[in-house]
C-alpha cells in the first residue's frame, strides 16, 4: 500500500478517530482468551495507528504487529459496540490487505490463497467434484446444472461441497427442497469459492475475480433465487455481489430464510420432536447480516421442541472462533474461543446445539468431541429434515 492511498487514508483516519475507550475489549473473543491489550480490538487499532501515522508505515510492520492484526475472527462484535461508530470489521479487512500489498502477509494466508487460486475452492479439492455429495440423493441428477426451469440455484459453498460432516448439510438442504417440490439446480464445477477467505487473507482484488465469475454463472443460470447454507457465502454474495445479482433479478437467501418461507407456505410439514435445543448465532448470519429471527422461528415451528437461548445470543452472541481465517493463523486460539462457547452450551442444558453455519458446526463439534461431551451439533437444515413428516 502506497502512502496516501485511499485505503491507507481510511486506516489512518479511523485509527485516529478511535478514542481507545475500550468498549470493544470485553466483547472480543480473542481478547477474552488471550487477555493482553495487544489482542484487543483497541490494541489492533493502536497497531494500525502506529503503522499509518508514523514513518515508514505499513512496510515496517513487525511480526508481532502482523500477528496482532490477524488474531481476529472478524466476528463484528467490536463494530457493533464501537462508541465512535467505526466500521472495525471493514478496517481489519483493509489492514490485512495493506499487509499483503506491502509483502507482510502471513505465510499461512499466502498458502491458503494459492490453494484457492488453483483449485477454486478452499479445500484444494478438484472443483469438478463439487457435487459428489449429491450422489447420495435418490435423484442426484436433480442438481444437474442443466436442469431447466429451475427457480432456485443452490450455492453449496466449499465447506458443504467437500467436507464430509458438512456434506450432510448439503444433503439436508437438497432433501428439504425436494420435499417442498422446489425446482432447483447447482453450478457444480462452475461454482467457485465465494472469495471471503481471499478477502480475509488480504487479497480483495483476487476475491473480486472469483465473485465476478460466480455472478456471471448465477445470472446465466436464469434463476431468480440463490440459496446458500453458508452464512459467509451468503454475506459475501450479498455484500460484494448483491448489486449485480439484484440488477439481474436474483435474490440471495440464506437457507434459514428459504426454509422458513417454505414452512410459512405450508410446503413443509413438521412433526414433533422432544428435545432441548439451543441455537448458536453464526457471526456472518447474525451480527454481519442481521438474521436472528428466521432460525428461531424455524425452531419454534417444530412441535414439542424446547428451545433455550444461550447466555449470549443474537447481537451479543459470542463467536465460535472459526471465522476470519483464524483457524489457519492460530488454531489453538480458535480452540480456546470454541471452548468458551461450549461452556455456554453446556450451561444452557441443551441436548442439541443447532447452528446455521458449517464452519461454526465443525469448530463446535470438534470442541465438544475433545471434551467428551454428550451434546449433539446439528445444522438447522438437518434438524428440519429429521422433523419432516
Amino acid at each position: 500500500m502506497s502512502a496516501g492511498s485511499p485505503d491507507q487514508d481510511t486506516l489512518r483516519r479511523e485509527s485516529l478517530i478511535c478514542a481507545q475507550c475500550g468498549a470493544c475489549r470485553d466483547v472480543c473473543p480473542a481478547f477474552r482468551q488471550l487477555g493482553w491489550e495487544s489482542s484487543s480490538p483497541r490494541g489492533r487499532m493502536s497497531v494500525v495507528k502506529d503503522l499509518t501515522t508514523k514513518k515508514p508505515g505499513v512496510s515496517a510492520a513487525t511480526d508481532e504487529q502482523v500477528r496482532t492484526l490477524c488474531q481476529c475472527t472478524m466476528c463484528g462484535a467490536c463494530r457493533e459496540i464501537c462508541a465512535a461508530r467505526i466500521d472495525t470489521t471493514e478496517l481489519w479487512f483493509e489492514a490485512r490487505a495493506a499487509l499483503t500489498r506491502e509483502g507482510k502477509a502471513l505465510g499461512q494466508f499466502a498458502r491458503l490463497a494459492e490453494g484457492i487460486r488453483e483449485a477454486k475452492n478452499v479445500a484444494s479439492f478438484d472443483n469438478e467434484t463439487r457435487l459428489e455429495w449429491a450422489e447420495d440423493l435418490d435423484e442426484g441428477d436433480i442438481l444437474d446444472p442443466q436442469v431447466e426451469k429451475a427457480e432456485v440455484l443452490y450455492y453449496v459453498g466449499c465447506m458443504a461441497s467437500f467436507y464430509p460432516r458438512s456434506q450432510q448439510v448439503a444433503l439436508a438442504i437438497a432433501e428439504i427442497m425436494k420435499a417442498a417440490n422446489v425446482r432447483f439446480s447447482a453450478l457444480g464445477g462452475e461454482e467457485w469459492c465465494c472469495g471471503y477467505p481471499l478477502e480475509a487473507s488480504g487479497r480483495p482484488e483476487e476475491a473480486k475475480v472469483f465473485q465476478r465469475h460466480n455472478v456471471e454463472k448465477i445470472l446465466a443460470s436464469g434463476v431468480t433465487k440463490v440459496v446458500t447454507g453458508c452464512p459467509t457465502c451468503f454475506e459475501t454474495l450479498n455484500r460484494d455481489c448483491g448489486d449485480a445479482l439484484r440488477e439481474g433479478g436474483v435474490e440471495v437467501l440464506h437457507a434459514t430464510q428459504f426454509i422458513l418461507q417454505l414452512i410459512r407456505e405450508q410446503r413443509l410439514e413438521l412433526s414433533g420432536r422432544s428435545a432441548v435445543v439451543t441455537y448458536h448465532d453464526p457471526c456472518d448470519l447474525g451480527r454481519n447480516s442481521g438474521i436472528y429471527d428466521e432460525p428461531r422461528e424455524i425452531l419454534r415451528s417444530i412441535p414439542d421442541l424446547t428451545f433455550v437461548e444461550l447466555h449470549s445470543s443474537r447481537e451479543g452472541s459470542s463467536c465460535c472462533g472459526g471465522g476470519g481465517n483464524l483457524q489457519t493463523v492460530d488454531p489453538a486460539l480458535t480452540e480456546r474461543i470454541a471452548d468458551a462457547r461450549v461452556d455456554e452450551i453446556v450451561q444452557s442444558g441443551a441436548e442439541i446445539v443447532v447452528s446455521a453455519c458449517q464452519q461454526c458446526e465443525q469448530v463446535l463439534a470438534a470442541a465438544i468431541q475433545r471434551r467428551g461431551l454428550k451434546v449433539q451439533v446439528m445444522d438447522i437444515s438437518e434438524l428440519v429434515l429429521d422433523s419432516l413428516v
Partner: protein, 493 residues
Amino acid sequence: MASKKALYGRSTQPLASRLIERYQERATDSPYERSFYTRDLAPIPGIVDRVFATTPDVVVRPDSAEMVADVVKQAGIDRVPVTTRAGASTALWGCVPVQGGVLLDLSDLRGVVAIDPTEKTARVRAGTVWTDFEHELLGHHLVAKSVPSSAPASSVGGWLCTGGYGIGTLKYGRFLSQVRSAEVVLPDGSIRRLTRETQPPLQWFEGSEGTLGVVTEVELEVRDASPMSHFLLSCPGISAVRQIVTKLVAGSPLPYSIHFDDRWTAAAMEALGYAPAGAVAGSELVRVDWEGTPEELEAAESVTRAAVAAVPGVSQLSHEAAKEEWAERFRSLRIKRGGPSVLGQEVLLPLSGLEGYLADVERLAMRYRMTLMSYGHMAVPDKAIVMTMFYTDETKTVEYLFSMGIMKKFHDVAARRNGAPYGLAFWSTPHIRSRLADPPLAEWRRRKQQLDPLGIMNPGKGPTRLAAMNPMVIQLGMDALAGIARVTRGGLS
C-alpha cells in the same frame, strides 16, 4: 527487559523476573506487550514519554485477590511502583504508570460471585465490565442502580476508584452509597473486606484512583428491572437548560438521568448525521430518562410536561427520538468522527454554576476563535458533570501541544463557578484548588501515609503529584501554550 530504577534506586528487573517465573503466562516483560499499557483515552504526544516513565517494566494479569496481594507484597519488598488498571476508560492517566514499575491489569478478575435476588445485592469481581454485570443481573430481573457513562468499557472496581457519578446516580446517589463492602488488597499485601465501619473504612477508596490499594471485589445494592420512559427536549439557550433541569430535579419523583448537549455539541452531531429527528437547529438538547412503576412513569410524564410548559421556548421532541438517544447513550464518542482528535476536560459543577460555566465557555470560545462543545449529565440533584472539548489533530504535534494549553482555561472557568476537575489522577493534579478538593488533599495525603508509607501505590497520582507537575510551573506553561494557541488562531485581533 526491565531496566528502570525502582522508587529507591533499586532495579525493577529482579522483581519482573520473579513475577514472570511465578506467574508464567500471566506476566510479561515483552517490550511489545508492555507498549500497549502506556496510554488511556488521552492522546498524548510521544514526546511526553520522554519526560515520564509511562512504560511499565512488567505487566501482570492476576486472576485472584491472592495473586494481587502477592504481587503488591513483592513490589513492596523491592519498593517498586504498582499501577492498577482494568478498562482504562478515563483520560487522566490514572492507570498509566509515570514511574514504570508493575502494571496490574485486573481485566481477568471478572465475573459475578453471587447475586441475592431477595436482598437485592450482588458481589462482583472488580474487573467485571458494567455491561457484563448488567447482563448477568437481567437474568434475575435485576439491574444496577446506576452505571457509568462508559459502562461497556469500564469496570465495577474502576468506577468506585474514579468517582462514581454516572447514569442513574441522579436518582440513586453516588456509587459509593450503593456499595456495601469491598474486598481490598492494601499496600502491605493484606486482603481485607472493608465496610463503612472498618479501619480503614470503605469510603476512603471512593475516588482513590489506585493510590491506597487495589479493590478486587465489590458488594453492591441492585434493584428490580423496571420500565423506563424517555423525553427529549429542545431548549433555546443555556438559561433554558438550567431552568428546566432545576425544575426537574426539584420535583418528585426524581428523574433517573438527565443528559444535556449544548448547541455546539448538537450542531457537531447534526453535521455528522447523528441529530435526533425533529431537532431544532441552534438549540440545546436535554434528555430526561425516568424509571419506575407504571404509576411513577405516569407521574413523570406530568412532571416533564409541566416543566416544559413552565420554561418559554422549550419544546418536546418525539418519544421515538428520545428512545433512540437513550439507546445511543454510551456512544458520546461518535463526536470524535468530526476530529480526528478531541481534547477535553470533565468538570464537576454545582447546578448553580452550570449556566455561568457554559456562558464562560462560550466567551472562551470567542476569545480563542474556536468551537468549544460541552455536554454533560446531572450527577446528583445539585451537581452536574460537564465535558467541554474541541476538535484538534494530534498528528500536528506543535499545534496540538499549544492547544493542550487551552485545557487549563477550562479548569479556570470551572473554578470560578466553584467547579473542580472530575478526578485528579495525573493530569489534573496541578489544577485542583485545595478548597474544592474532595476529599481535601491533606486528608488524602494522611490516608496515603497511613496505608502506603512506602508510596508504592500509583505514585505521582492524586495527592502525590510529581515534582514535574508543580502547579505553578505547569499552570504558567499551559497559560503560555494557550497564549500561543490564541495568537496562532488569530484570536488577538
